[in-house]
């Protein structure tokens, strides 16, 4: 019964073609139905049925995301068939679905070995392809000898694939180098272009991982660079030299000539030309003639109509921008023109290039150009522009910014770009500059005011973070404000209801700071100068005390009270609490404002309260290092790693009331978080806080003074009053950018203000370079192999030498005389080399590499 069933299955099995036709009809259940069939068919003993089932499964897996890991064993079965057609299907399935974790991997070692030794070259090539795709450590180890044999095969097809597989074998089993490396190197001198292109490709990959080990092969590569006519091969060799020349500068000089020759050729392929240019830019940029030629060639790319060439031209320029900015400057028209290209990728490349040009002399000009583009661009690119300005300007604690007034107003302008969505970054930078750069605070307050009083900005949710920063700055640095009343009014305008609650709380808190500042100014200034004459006029409300009259101060208080009244019923607790705190404070001092104006008693309760609040706010906030927490020494006896889960059980009753208890009674806790909370509470509490709490705070600050930055009073800002408004909003039209904008301008007479920097923590920590041990052992093995070639196998070396002698003889005599001169300098050079060896970072891994002198 079963056998007749299987016969039916075999006879009426759907072929792959049937499956594809079925799939094209687009039936939703078709795949699952076919899968059922496949599961049944693949278990049959008949290999043709099995292989067709496997073929269908591979198809579904490749194009329809069906899992085929379950069929791994069946794939091994199909591979063992003696028919080539079955083998092919099996190997294809294995290459597609096997990973290192596949359990039946062990079962194919013998099959692979058998096929590698087959007399049918196509079977051998199937096995090699499979090994190249799935080779594990074990497979590579077990099959190394087979690969070695095949590397010497007389059949080009097999030998080519054996070369291709070497990369995987070396990667998985570095000891294979000892066996196979010599044969691999021999192929570098092969006259068969097929083999040459394969072996150069392999060396290109190997060199990319560990250039130093392959320096001794430089003569072989050089010969290929000069002799080969195949673009593919030349591109790969150029890539090899790009890596080698960057660690061996003497090579750069030697290679520059043939590279230039390739570039000068009339009908050189664009891909080869581009590779030459890129090689020159990345590794040969110290060779003047080569660099000049490459810059000239790259211009052709930049002005070409083909967007691919334009893109690559810009890309290549960005490689050289760091070292030779002049190359970019020479092509600046093309770069600026590319900013208005159709293609977003080209625009982006141009943007990166422009940002690479930024330095402290031209940052103003370039930012102005870019802001002009930002205004006209689509939202995506607009934000790319704004983002890259922000990144470039804030790099290394605003290293390139000299004029912070300009930069702060630029940040303000960014907020007004219609598509701006970089609120978070701008917020961060506004606050950061406020805390770091004292001299910029006046401008910061001016910019913040402009942002706050514009009711239109409140409707854009992307700007909310910026507004939050503006609100904080105008509260924190209210002493720079020309009209505190105006700020308070802006902070409490009705449209602030559009803000999220967390930001609204900041608004209220800032309004509180403004209020305290105004009251402080009003009260303190009145005391010393209180002649009876003034007293009279005060009562009538006309005397001006430090900008605050009795009328203005009481209208300020009334305005804040009115604005906050409606908020005391908000659902959000943060907003509600802050509003109530301020209202409580106002309630306490309000009746004394009028009294204060008439009586001279300076020791009232309100006076003390205001003085205290001023104290609280006067502590200057500084930037905090991201590593500050680590600097706090661990107090003795404090166990941090202990598991505290049990604690909750025991102290449940104790903890709960504590959380609600008044902070002043809670003196037991020393946690930093609590202190911070208390800090805020103090700041916003309506009652004059008890003395011990403020003394606790002072003590805390004294103890950890190290982590607060010193708060000196800012120096006078009078000298900057003059150029308050020197930043105009007029952008030059993009296409009329003058050459001057890229030339260094005269130094601005104004000195750069002090920027507070932290020693550490300003930069994100870099991850340690994790080079895999596998790579290391591979490079060690290769170096040993090449050393052996140098020492042990004299013949080999002699042969190579002869080869080069011949090669060199054909060159002109001048070169050989140069070589002699160089040989004289040999002693000098070897001392240089030994010093380099000492410097070498991989001293443990890298043995001194012999570079044949002939080449250098």
């Amino acid at each position: 019964m079963a056998s007749s069933n299987s016969l039916m299955d075999s006879l009426f099995q759907r072929s792959l073609e049937d499956l594809i036709k079925g799939l094209r009809l687009g039936e939703s259940t078709f795949i699952s139905r076919s899968l059922e069939e496949i599961r049944r068919e693949i278990k049959l003993t008949d290999l043709s049925t099995k292989s067709v089932a496997l073929q269908k499964l591979s198809y579904l897996a490749a194009l329809h995301g069906v899992d085929m890991a379950w069929a791994a064993f069946h794939a091994v079965e199909v591979v063992s068939s003696s028919r080539f057609a079955h083998k092919r299907i099996g190997y294809h399935a294995i290459a597609q679905s096997f990973s290192d974790q596949t359990p039946v991997m062990l079962l194919i070692t013998n099959q692979l070995r058998k096929d590698l030794n087959s007399s049918n070259e196509h079977e051998v090539s199937l096995a090699l392809e499979c090994l190249a795709r799935i080779g594990t450590d074990d497979l590579a180890r077990d099959l190394t000898s087979e690969v070695f044999t095949l590397l010497g095969s007389s059949k080009a097809l097999v030998r080519k694939k054996a070369i291709g597989v070497v990369l995987r074998v070396f990667d998985k089993y570095p000891d294979a180098v000892k066996v196979c490396f010599k044969r691999l190197v021999e192929n570098l001198e092969s006259s068969d272009p097929q083999l040459l292109s394969a072996v150069v490709g392999v060396f290109c990959e190997l060199t990319a991982k560990d250039p130093r080990s392959y320096l001794p092969l430089a003569p072989e590569f050089y010969k290929i660079l000069v002799d080969s006519r195949n673009n593919w091969v030349l591109i790969k060799v150029l890539k090899i030299f790009a890596k080698l020349a960057s660690i061996e500068p003497r090579l750069a000089k030697k290679v520059a000539d043939p590279v230039c020759e390739h570039m000068r050729k009339q009908n050189v392929g664009k891909s080869l030309l581009f590779e030459c240019i890129r090689t020159v830019f990345s590794s040969l940029s110290d060779q003047e003639t080569a660099l000049k030629l490459a810059v000239a060639k790259i211009r052709e790319f930049l002005v070409d109509d083909d967007p691919n060439l334009k893109y690559l031209g810009l890309h290549a320029l960005s490689i050289v921008a760091g070292k030779h900015l002049w190359a970019v400057l020479e092509n600046k028209e093309a770069v600026v023109k590319a900013m208005s290209d159709e293609d977003p990728n080209v625009k982006l490349e141009a943007l990166h290039l422009l940002m690479a040009m930024v330095n402290e002399d031209n940052v103003t000009e370039i930012s102005r150009i870019l802001m002009n583009y930002a205004l006209k661009s689509d939202p995506l690119f607009c934000n790319e522009i704004i983002g890259s300005i922000l990144v470039a300007c804030s790099r290394d604690s605003y290293e390139i910014i000299v004029d912070f007034d300009w930069y702060v107003s630029l940040l303000g302008e960014m907020a007004r770009v219609p598509h701006c969505q970089r609120g978070k970054e701008i917020e961060h930078q506004l606050i950061d500059i406020g805390t770091r750069v004292k001299d910029a605070r006046l401008e910061l307050v001016r910019v913040s005011r402009a942002l706050l009083i514009d009711p239109a900005l409140l409707g854009n949710q992307f700007l909310h973070p910026i507004l939050s920063a503006a609100a904080w700055a105008s509260g924190e640095y209210v002493e720079f404000s020309k009209s505190p009343y105006e700020i308070a009014e802006a902070l409490l305008q009705p449209r602030t209801c559009l803000l999220p609650d967390s930001i609204r709380a900041i608004y209220i808190h800032s309004a509180f700071k403004v209020l305290v500042f105004s009251l402080g100014a009003y009260f303190s200034a009145q005391e010393p100068t209180s002649p009876p004459l003034a007293q009279e006029s005060t009562s009538s409300g006309h005397s001006v005390v430090n900008g605050f009259t009795y009328n203005s101060i009481s209208s300020l208080v009334n305005m804040i009270e009115l604005g906050l009244c409606s908020l005391s019923g908000t659902i959000d607790v943060e907003v509600q609490e802050r509003a109530k705190n301020v209202l409580g404070f106002i309630g306490m001092i309000k009746h004394e404002i009028a009294e204060k104006a008439t009586s001279q008693n300076s020791e009232t309760e309100a006076h003390r309260a205001i003085a205290f609040m001023e104290d609280v706010f006067s502590e200057e906030l500084g930037p905090v290092s991201s590593t500050a927490q680590e600097k706090v020494p661990l107090p003795e006896g404090l166990e941090l790693n202990e598991n505290l889960e049990g604690l909750q059980e025991i102290c449940r009753e104790v903890l709960e009331p504590m959380a609600e208890s008044d902070y002043s009674s809670d003196k037991v806790s020393f946690s930093v978080a609590k202190l911070r909370i208390r800090d805020q509470e103090e700041a916003s509490s309506s009652l004059p806080p008890p003395l011990e709490s403020s003394s606790l705070l002072a003590e805390h600050r004294k103890r950890h003074g190290l982590y607060y930055l010193s708060s000196q009073k800012s120096e006078d800002h009078n000298d900057r009053e003059g150029n308050d408004n020197n930043t105009s909003n007029e952008y030059p039209p993009a296409n009329e950018i003058s050459v001057d904008s890229f030339k260094p301008k005269k130094k601005i007479s104004k000195p750069r203000p002090v920027v507070v920097k932290l020693d550490e923590g300003d930069e994100p920590k870099r991850k340690p370079d994790a080079s895999s041990s596998n790579d290391e052992s591979l490079s060690r093995a290769i170096q040993t192999a090449l050393m052996g070639k140098g020492k042990g196998k004299e013949k080999e070396k002699e042969r190579v030498k002869e080869n080069h002698e011949m090669n060199v003889d054909t060159e002109n005599i001048e070169q050989s005389s140069r070589r002699e001169k160089k040989n004289k300098k040999n002693g000098e050079r070897s001392s240089k080399r030994s010093s380099r060896r000492q410097r070498g970072k991989e001293a443990s891994v890298t043995k001194p590499v012999e570079v044949p002198d002939l080449l250098l």
């Binding site: 080539f84 392809e129 070369i163 673009n231 891909s271």
Partner: protein
């Protein structure tokens, strides 16, 4: 590694061929393909629309020739840590994911070589040829690329094993 993967995708975004040279799980492959196809097709969407508009304009004034070339987009897209080099041939997109330092123009030439090779074998290759002869397309790729390295660039050499196989059948 050079080449990381090769994809052929039609205008509707359906994958017609996928060859990976590094191990990715099914989920990773599906996610990667989705992202790349979306990215590249979106870029070309504008282009296709533009082509239609251009044809429309040309029917009225046939003087705009050459303009089209000016407004094309480049064939390179950066995605994750790959660079995607892609090119459209009729209804099929050929996308090749390469390492950052790979030569983009050479990869474009490689794509062209692949198409020419398939053309030579199938005779004016189309999407259906690849659908129904997927294994042959894979076979050609295997001859051309090993371990992500391009090892063979001669059309005759690439096709000779396939022709042998066809004869055997």
């Amino acid at each position: 590694m050079g080449i990381r993967f090769i994809l052929m995708v039609n205008k509707q975004g359906q994958t017609r061929l996928a060859q990976y040279y590094e191990w990715l799980t099914l989920e990773e492959r599906r996610a990667l393909e989705g992202e790349i196809v979306r990215k590249c097709l979106a870029r070309n969407d504008q282009q296709i629309r533009f082509e239609l508009m251009f044809e429309f304009l040309c029917s009225y004034a046939g003087v705009l020739a050459g303009w089209l070339a000016l407004n094309e987009q480049c064939s390179f897209v950066e995605h994750r840590n790959y660079k995607i080099v892609y090119r459209r041939y009729a209804s099929l997109f050929f996308m090749v994911g390469v390492d950052d330092d790979e030569n983009e123009l050479a990869i474009l030439e490689f794509i062209h070589l692949l198409v020419e090779t398939m053309d030579k074998h199938f005779g004016n290759v189309c999407e259906l040829d690849i659908m129904f002869h997927l294994e042959k397309a894979h076979f050609m790729l295997e001859e051309m690329v090993m371990n992500g390295c391009i090892v063979e660039t001669s059309k005759a050499n690439i096709l000779s094993p396939i022709q042998l196989m066809d004869k055997a059948h």
